[in-house]
């Protein structure tokens, strides 16, 4: 079920009405769990069974890890949990990729037979709910989390529909306490809470959802065509055309994914849950590591906490280990996006940038306190250099064809200063170009003004209604004609 479809709006409205009218705790919880499963079933049909399997496996494994008296038993259950989650994810997401690589290898060594591809359908949201479940058992194994008391509570956490198919990836330690009834400001009971839709949450949620729809349907869907025009066949294009393509794709991807996240966070907020931000003005990042505190935050912190930190835990002072750990972490981040070489390259480049930046910082620890970097020009320069590098990586994110990727990267780095073709591209894509400029202005305003959604939601009702009207009218009049899938659905 696409968020940007009538189906979802009807589904969500019905849920809100039922939750508001039937104020019975048990009913509400079961109803929301089954609604969430239905939400996935509606899109993915029988593949919803994988979600149910993941819930059951991790719930029982989590409990067994917690209750284990011996370390060995604890480890065994932990490994079972990991194999279960990585096995399912790996089988559905990476089998065909591995087979095709084996076939390529077979061709090289003149084997005259090929392993047939399985052509498996990729279950929607599997990367997200698998990582969510894995963090649950890892936290229990580390002793930093107590397992859910009931299957109902755990199922609610994993299947909760707003972030189910494209994140943000939730953490049990943050979500479960919100599900339980509050005793005092800092204490919660084990009892699950009754859902009450408050005015503040409703107003904030609607605002954030509208912003999400606006980002997706007004910006992303309308900027998409210029990206396709440029990136589908970049051979022969000028450097500036490639740059326009990368900037357009960066903005399209941001609006698409952060739009989805906004809708998910907004929908969850209406139901009374605070889901942490997934994006925080990434185009104002002033270093590669700063970028990863602003872009797909839930995934980058997941990789940091569950892969990078354990890798460097033993020897943080070893530059080599830090370098390799960062590269490995970012390669995982890349392959998480899809079973394809371009995502590995994308992750690898990011890993390289991060590793170089981290080592440079270690070598020159006082550089950041240098006068230049503290000045306005210094800050702007840092942002521009960082963004130049970040946008470079978007080429690998989009282009699966290796020749295209290499050509585009060369043109991006070695400028040819030709403008004839670029002017033509600009002339043929007036709307996307105008929208890109408008986006940059709005992104700058939101960078300067802070949390725009919160500010809007605190406005008086008639101002608030007028702003909603502007969002809705912009979406309607610039609607491209059909609901476009979110880019991150494919991951």
């Amino acid at each position: 079920m696409l968020f940007n479809s009538l189906d979802f709006l009807v589904f969500f409205f019905v849920i809100l009405c039922i939750i508001s009218f039937f104020k019975f705790r048990r009913f509400q919880h079961l109803f929301l769990i089954f609604s969430s499963l239905f939400f996935l079933y509606y899109t993915d049909n029988y593949l919803v069974t994988l979600l149910i399997f993941t819930i059951l496996l991790h719930f029982y494994v989590g409990r067994e890890i917690y209750n284990s008296q011996t370390i060995i038993r604890k480890k065994i259950f932990f490994v079972i949990g990991l194999i279960g989650s990585i096995g399912v994810l790996g089988f559905f997401k990476y089998t065909d990729f591995v087979i095709s690589q084996l076939n390529v290898f077979g061709t090289i060594i003149d084997l005259n037979s090929e392993i047939p591809l399985l052509n498996l359908a990729l279950p929607i949201g599997i990367s997200f709910y698998t990582f969510q479940s894995m963090s649950y058992i890892i936290d229990i194994y580390r002793g930093s989390l107590k397992p859910s008391k009931t299957l109902k509570e755990y199922a609610f956490f994993v299947a909760f529909f707003p972030p189910l198919v494209a994140g943000p990836i939730l953490r049990a330690s943050e979500f479960l306490p919100q599900l339980r009834e509050k005793i005092s400001q800092n204490e919660v009971s084990q009892k699950l809470k009754l859902f009450v839709i408050t005015n503040t949450n409703l107003k904030f949620g609607i605002t954030l959802m509208s912003i999400g729809f606006f980002k997706k349907m007004f910006f992303s869907d309308n900027i998409g065509p210029i990206v396709n025009n440029i990136f589908s066949n970049p051979l022969g294009l000028e450097s500036f055309s490639i740059m326009i393509g990368t900037i357009a794709f960066g903005i399209q991807l941001y609006c698409d994914f952060s739009g989805y996240s906004d809708i998910a966070i907004g929908a969850a907020a209406i139901l009374g849950f605070k889901i942490p931000l997934n994006f925080n003005k990434p185009f104002f990042a002033s270093s590669p590591s700063d970028f990863w505190t602003r872009w797909h935050i839930s995934l980058s912190t997941w990789v940091r906490d569950y892969l990078y930190y354990p890798l460097v835990f033993k020897n943080r002072k070893s530059e080599g280990l830090v370098f390799i750990s960062l590269i490995i972490s970012m390669l995982l981040m890349g392959i998480w996006h899809g079973a394809s070489w371009n995502f590995l390259i994308w992750g690898g480049i990011h890993g390289l940038f991060l590793a170089c930046y981290t080592i440079l910082r270690k070598k020159f620890p006082t550089a950041s306190s240098n006068k230049f970097f503290k000045s306005k020009i210094g800050k702007i320069s840092s942002i521009l250099v960082t963004q130049y590098l970040i946008f470079f990586t978007f080429i690998a994110f989009w282009m699966k064809d290796f020749d295209h990727m290499v050509y585009a990267m060369k043109k991006y780095v070695l400028l040819d200063f030709s403008t004839v073709g670029t002017i033509e591209i600009i002339r043929d894509n007036e709307l996307p170009i105008l929208l890109m400029i408008l986006f940059m202005i709005l992104h700058f305003i939101s960078y300067k003004k802070g949390n725009i959604a919160e500010r809007i939601s605190k406005l008086k009702i008639h101002y608030w209604t007028s702003i909603l009207f502007v969002f809705f009218l912009s979406i309607a009049t610039f609607y491209v004609g059909s609901a476009r899938e979110f880019i991150y659905f494919q991951f």
């Binding site: 009807v10 005015n199 043929d428 709307l431 009702i461 209604t465 009207f469 309607a476 004609g481």
Partner: protein, 313 residues
């Protein structure tokens, strides 16, 4: 839930709906057939040449009017050709602008109709099994009656309509012969790929050529209106790589058009399957726009030259 908040959202949606539908229907009802802008523009009246209007959906969009006009100019044909293709056009939609088209005094109207426009989606009772397996289909089924009239009012791409409107208000009338925002060059996709990707599901898509089909009623009305105003009509079936109707239905469609052709006295050409063997397709429904796909435009020019001669006789 706070009903004041919900009411505010409802108000915002209602206002959006009113403004959106008003602007869209204003556009549909009053667009100038030469696409000089939204409102009538008399600059066309000053052209000394007789006008030929090509009508149809995006399936006729790739007919290059510049090519046709250059050919006419070189061969002293005293006509000017305008491609008035409109996205998702069908007789039922076109009927709304026919008086506007007539008021611009074209000598000839050449109308490319799409066989698919005359399909009916037979609404079978949905089974319990279907509901369980595909809840989405159940949703579509339940809301079909509600959505159909709305879909009729909303154009294929509201964005293109809005942009044309904006451009008109910002820059005034812009003379060009193509109605869409830009006449982009598009690349050819190999036909085997297109056929492979095509999910043929025309079980429920039968043709309805009876007088109860609104598309047929509108088509006849358009023919009558043009005849009444002494505007010569040429009808052709728009080319497609893959038709979503059965061969027997297409044969029946051809027969029906021939009957109309005799009854109302206008020529009809069948191009719907003329290019299926050629590598000229952007997708399964549209001929690509580039130098290698000019055959469609050339054929159109030949048809026009032939009929101009016939009309002269």
């Amino acid at each position: 839930m706070n009903f004041k908040l919900l009411l505010s959202v409802f108000v915002a949606i209602t206002f959006t709906g009113i403004i959106f539908s008003t602007s869209m229907s204003f556009y549909i009802n009053s667009y100038d057939p030469d696409w000089y802008g939204l409102l009538s523009n008399n600059s066309l009246d000053s052209t000394p040449k007789e006008k030929i209007f090509l009508l149809g959906s995006s399936t006729v969009y790739s007919v290059n009017s510049t090519f046709v006009n250059n050919y006419f100019a070189k061969n002293d044909v005293n006509y000017e050709f305008f491609n008035l293709a409109d996205m998702s056009d069908s007789p039922k939609k076109r009927i709304h602008s026919i008086s506007n088209i007539i008021s611009n005094n074209p000598a000839i109207v050449i109308y490319g109709i799409d066989v698919g426009d005359f399909r009916t989606e037979t609404k079978n009772e949905i089974s319990l099994e279907e509901i369980v397996i595909h809840p989405k289909n159940f949703f579509l089924y339940q809301f079909e009656d509600f959505m159909e009239p709305i879909r009729d009012k909303i154009p294929g791409s509201p964005k293109d309509r809005s942009l044309s409107t904006l451009k008109y208000f910002l820059f005034g009338p812009q003379p060009h012969h193509h109605p869409f925002i830009n006449f982009y060059e598009t690349s050819v996709t190999p036909t085997h790929e297109l056929k492979l990707n095509f999910n043929d599901n025309f079980e429920s898509k039968k043709l309805d050529l009876s007088d109860e089909n609104e598309e047929i009623v509108s088509l006849k009305e358009i023919i009558n209106e043009l005849k009444k105003n002494n505007i010569k009509l040429i009808l052709f079936t728009a080319p497609k790589l893959i038709q979503e109707v059965s061969d027997s239905d297409i044969q029946f469609f051809e027969k029906t058009l021939l009957t109309y052709s005799n009854e109302y006295n206008f020529p009809v050409y069948f191009l719907h399957d003329k290019y299926v063997e050629l590598e000229i397709w952007r997708d399964s429904q549209h001929v690509a726009i580039n130098n290698d796909t000019q055959i469609y435009t050339k054929n159109m020019t030949e048809i026009l030259l032939k009929e101009i001669k016939n009309f002269a006789i």
